[in-house]
Symmetry: C2
Subunit: 364 residues, 2 copies
Amino acid sequence: MARSAEPKEPAPGRAPAPPHGRTPSVKDVAASAGVSLGTVSNVLNKPAAVSAATRERVERAMAELGFVRNESARQLRAGTSRTLAYVMLDGGNPFFHDVARGIESGAEDADLSLFICNSDGRAAREAKHLDRLVQQRVQGILITPVDPSASHLREIGRRGIPLVMVDRLGGTGDCCSVAVDDVLGGRIAIEHLTDRGHERVAFVGGPESIGQVRERLLGARQVWSELGRDAADLIHLPTEALTVAEGRGAGERLAGLPARRRPTAVFCANDLLALGLLQQATAIGMRVPEDLAIVGYDDIEFAAAAAVPLTSVRQPREELGRTAARLVLAEAGDPAHRHEQACFVPELVARASTAAVRHPARKR
Amino acid sequence: MARSAEPKEPAPGRAPAPPHGRTPSVKDVAASAGVSLGTVSNVLNKPAAVSAATRERVERAMAELGFVRNESARQLRAGTSRTLAYVMLDGGNPFFHDVARGIESGAEDADLSLFICNSDGRAAREAKHLDRLVQQRVQGILITPVDPSASHLREIGRRGIPLVMVDRLGGTGDCCSVAVDDVLGGRIAIEHLTDRGHERVAFVGGPESIGQVRERLLGARQVWSELGRDAADLIHLPTEALTVAEGRGAGERLAGLPARRRPTAVFCANDLLALGLLQQATAIGMRVPEDLAIVGYDDIEFAAAAAVPLTSVRQPREELGRTAARLVLAEAGDPAHRHEQACFVPELVARASTAAVRHPARKR
DNA sequence: GATCCTATCTGAAACATTTCAACGCCCCGC
DNA sequence: GCGGGGCGTTGAAATGTTTCAGATAGGATC
């Protein structure tokens, strides 16, 4: 019954089979190398304090036994883990994955692992994730919250766990945050469209409970009124969510408008909406950009990959993530840390979906 | 200097400020409730063994102190963590996120957390992630490996950590795996195209070092020869990777073919390629499906959202993930576990990109 | 009243690591 | 020969939890 080594397979790697059942600990290594366990610990943590000969002996023992540090024990002693966590809002939106990638790169630099969670827009899930993360004693939490003012967020802060809001403004300033200037994003989108000669534009997006949506719309309206345009010519087509399906729905409603009122361009609150809208528009035979120009938001990879490449407002996603990681680490390192609100500037990426065309209405 | 409670903010939540610096432990709770720490532990782990009165007292103490279990300590004692991990191959491909969602749902059922890592197709990154996961003593590892035969994978197995390959066949059977029948997938894609009357078809995909690519191509060729078609009419357009950019490149090469040799349909090894190809085809004025029919693979959300909705071979992604989670848990629970190779059946989802059109070549 | 049982609670041990005061040792300078 | 100071090493303490053998008490049964 004893688990014998398979004779067929003569140790393919370097590490031999584990000594016996249990995975070896520092104690085993110490015994095998004939040193105290404090010395083994020193080899791991301050190798300079150990003589070369001893160090080598210990290292050989570790290799022979296939020793691997037990991170739980280390954490227990240290009081905190070597892990950051990012709780993202919508796992179906590539935007957040790009942000996550930025965070990961920041975490990597500090030699930390990154725990990625997905709240899927549901407060209960978010709370559950946060609960777990607190139990894990993560070193810091990055989050794009369902509701930035939720009580479970303040709870985290009260516990003294560094927390950074990502892509949301920290509001009252009781935590760090990184965000992009959404009002400005709305402005440049509309400026781009008016530059292209559009006089009747729709803003597609909702619900307005989402700060981003509110601000992008606000920016749009600001420019519109500054240009002295009639507010009635900037239509708001609300959606229930920022998804492809909702974008299609908005496309249908757009098509249903009487020709007089129908806009020649739309500005969508994100790229998913824009892609859905583009699809619907194409399906009913509208040409983009000739009949309808479209501007999206986020500049996700699929925006550039659309059949008609999508003009979009790009956010510096990875940098957003990297900065967030930097802030959370700064807060973790320095107790006297002042909360910081980083705000990035969005940038318009013009593509075919708003290419300059002599507009039919003007041409004739 | 003492950190006094802010007078402005009269305890917004229920939990009062932590007692003093340190986060409270079971010992603190025990002291505060006037019981032994064993009892506190029982309240947490086997509440039935504690009298109602005591339990309530302890629970009140926990609430008052804002006690949160320390997961590291729990893990240390238990010898293993309450965490699964998924190392995905390509964070930029929504397919893997859907798989991850399935895994998460499986993990959720077992009340485990899921650690999501991204190897980004790089073996070194993958090895680093695995290293960390072993240090964390995760309960099991799910992985879509860069190279299924890599030595660091066998290492994991030798350590006795349950490992399940996702979307890859376990090959020699020395670990569990879940996969989808890619040969069959290739077959149904080609059958669909030949049903639609196409007589010259291209397979776009590569590199062939990827098992999926090889098998989908194999399935395609099988059907082709079974139908008695000339092998020269099933062109293989190789790509360097399964990305949108490579899809665009393939589109260019396709357009460059002399009209006689140009296929009327393509079967792409995944949806990213198909989307890139669709974009390029549209850009140069080819109509889809009239001039070129396209079949993708994976049926990611963006396939349905494309301007011309993409016909695609759907894999049961979430189920793949859920099954993988189930297998890894089975292996973790039962040491005498027999490795299992789960194989799912793909399914064709027909959309506009291969809609039946009277094909020009036949019409005239 | 002794015995047994059950329900409840206790205290110490164990888990793997890091830290730290202390120790032995050797060499240097006096 | 002795004090002093590095250097390298040691052993014990501490971290927060779970587990488990025992302790205690309160009934019920004989």
